[in-house]
Symmetry: C2
Subunit: 87 residues, 2 copies
Amino acid sequence: MFVILVYDVGEKRVNKVLKKARKYLNWVQNSVLEGEISDANYKKLKYELGKIMNLDEDSAIIYQLRTTKYSSREIIGIEKGGQELIL
Amino acid sequence: MFVILVYDVGEKRVNKVLKKARKYLNWVQNSVLEGEISDANYKKLKYELGKIMNLDEDSAIIYQLRTTKYSSREIIGIEKGGQELIL
């Protein structure tokens, strides 16, 4: 499946969440990653994010698209995902 | 169509972009909005965001789903968007 992950977490956890999510998905923008992922890796990703996040304060939304056939995307302004992310 | 808007803009423009986007979509998380939108309003939204944004620095991605039949979403942690959320 194709997923879009958007997260909003405390500053101390931002880098940890990003690093973990990049194991499975492609970074596209500040706090947004996307990509094809297997069911097994999807479960791993959720589990690993859940361990890093403070579940009383942080939030992550994962949109799952079973197919990308009925979806597309447009970018306004610059495309950030093509650049190397500097941490 | 159903759209998900994620934006990453300079601090000075964050509130303006949010205010404009909320005219058309529901806020779900920091820098993320979603919702059903007509083709006409979608064009308006893009045009209005383009006027506010600095197109050399800022970025916004709009994912368009022609149908939500093949999609779903999961939340890890807290749900920030409140009751407006429907997918």
